[in-house]
């Protein structure tokens, strides 16, 4: 591992100032991904600004019923928080379906959003990768890509985003609070990650030096039936081949609110807006769910060896929708 300077920040302001004053600096959260990538030589920061002990480790209920989750709240604590378990269950289930107990104890809310793809070409310095080294090519497009994207990929990159948590946040209309050297702003969780296009080295819409300070779970989706389902190669402790986070409310026999996000199929959590539009106001039947997912996945462009993801994403999402709808009629 290359040598680096180390600074521990005590406040968010101190962190962004330290970042601005230190060329080649990176923020360090729980380190479960960044330290690993530093060992591999994929990440080579000249300095680490440690933000893991910032006073952002609380979960705070706001007057309007929304929940502000500090960026340094650990994944295990967030998954176990009673207000999350009861109010936004898809988020708790998504967190619990990711990584291992040890990793969830270390990983932070902010860091989970900022984890990098697990594409093996990205992690292997001997292989071309436009995300790691822009312009070097994409080894996965014609190589081993069974786990890769089927939606929204580009000639430059076919990687997927590995987070389960981010998929639930996108479906639940969460917001991400950011702080830069010149003040704060907010992004919809759904708009936080980006598609690769011709700049696959950029995973998110973060500006240089911006720090994630919190995630807000909105009152609008609090208490609505929601669920997360993940399909993977093992029963536990594996990344998603495909996953779905769904929030669904039914009133007077029709869909009043639906949020659907797919994981493991794109460079970002894939918010299924076309399916949602088709379902809103419709009767929550299995046929309607199947039709909506057909519409959404008509945009899919599977690679040579990952065509299985299209029917997989369709059937698992239809299944989650059907189960949530059954709760309304039951």
């Amino acid at each position: 591992m290359r040598t680096f300077d180390y600074v521990r920040a005590r406040t968010a302001e101190e962190a962004t100032a330290a970042w601005a004053a230190t060329p080649g600096a990176r923020y360090l959260g729980g380190g479960t991904n960044l330290v690993d990538l530093m060992k591999l030589g994929v990440e080579r920061p000249e300095a680490l600004v440690d933000v893991s002990r910032l006073p952002l480790d609380t979960v705070e209920e706001l007057p309007d019923g929304s929940l502000r989750v500090g960026a340094t709240v650990r994944n295990s604590d967030l998954a176990a928080h009673p207000l999350v378990v009861e109010g936004w269950p898809a988020l708790s289930r998504a967190l619990l379906s990711g990584a291992s107990g040890q990793l969830r104890n270390a990983a932070t809310t902010g860091g989970n959003l900022l984890q990098r793809t697990r594409c093996p070409y990205f992690q292997d310095l001997s292989k071309p990768c436009n995300k790691r080294e822009p312009g070097s090519g994409c080894g996965a497009r014609e190589g081993v890509h069974r786990d890769h994207a089927v939606l929204g990929h580009s000639p430059h990159c076919v990687a997927t985003h590995p987070s389960d948590m981010a998929v639930a946040l996108a479906a639940l209309d969460a917001r991400v609070e950011l702080r830069g050297t010149d003040g704060g702003r907010e992004l919809a969780a759904e708009a936080f990650h980006r598609l690769p296009g011709d700049r696959p080295e950029l995973d998110t819409e973060l500006r240089p030096g911006e720090l994630v300070t919190a995630v807000v779970l909105p009152a609008a989706t609090r208490g609505l039936p929601s669920a997360y389902r993940k399909v993977r190669d093992r029963a536990s402790y594996a990344f998603a081949l495909a996953s779905a986070a769904v929030v669904l409310s039914v009133a007077d026999g029709v869909v009043a609110h639906v949020g659907i996000a797919l994981g493991g199929v794109a460079h970002r959590p894939w918010r299924a807006r076309r399916a949602e539009e088709a379902l809103t106001g419709a009767a929550p039947t299995r046929a309607a769910f199947e039709h909506a997912l057909e519409l959404e996945l008509s945009a899919a462009e599977p690679l040579r060896d990952n065509g299985y993801k299209v029917p997989l994403a369709r059937s698992l999402t239809v299944d989650v929708l059907t189960r949530l709808a059954a709760r309304h009629s039951g």
Partner: protein, 173 residues
């Protein structure tokens, strides 16, 4: 040595102040600097769990934690699980009685992970297989499927999983 920082850690009840290279991970500090070789280096990438120790009572992969970030923390390794009189931890006894290992390389990590997992369940942390019948925040009752899920971050290449699950079941309060 590259840029270094001064760090104080309490390991198994004993305080140590060291100047460590910023690149030093906790696992290497334990094994190389403190001669505590119980925690094992398996994959060195947070995937196998052989390096699992408890930091401030929570199980973590010591291969992914930079030592400089842990200033002021309390670390418990497998060497610290026994009682003050040297009496093995009940879980260590259960592993012996159930013959819950073959080569033993993953065992220190399995033990520390199981201690952490039992504490998490007692503190009301659900897992991916916890059913809707458990009220949020209540202690989670453990059985074989809960143990398998909660221990999935610890690989055993000898395949001693059935005995490991039985050993952990033996010490469920």
């Amino acid at each position: 040595m590259g840029p270094a920082s001064r760090t104080t850690l309490t390991v198994n009840g004993r305080e140590h102040t060291l100047t460590v290279d910023n690149r030093r991970v906790l696992l290497d500090l334990l094994r190389e600097d403190l001669d505590l070789i119980g925690a094992k280096k398996g994959c060195d990438h947070g995937q196998c769990g052989a390096c699992t120790v408890l930091v401030d009572g929570r199980r973590v992969n010591s291969c992914l934690l930079l030592a400089v970030t842990l200033d002021g923390s309390e670390v418990t390794t497998v060497e610290g699980l026994a009682g003050p009189d040297g009496e093995p931890h009940p879980l260590q006894r259960a592993f012996l009685e159930r013959d819950a290992f073959q080569c033993g390389y993953c065992t220190p990590g399995q033990l520390c992970s199981a201690v952490g997992a039992l504490a998490e369940a007692a503190a009301g942390h659900p897992s991916a297989v916890t059913g809707p019948g458990v009220r949020a925040g209540d202690p989670v009752p453990l059985g074989a499927s809960e143990i398998r899920e909660r221990m999935s971050g610890n690989l055993c290449r000898c395949g001693a999983y059935p005995r490991i699950v039985e050993a952990v079941e033996d010490v469920i309060p």
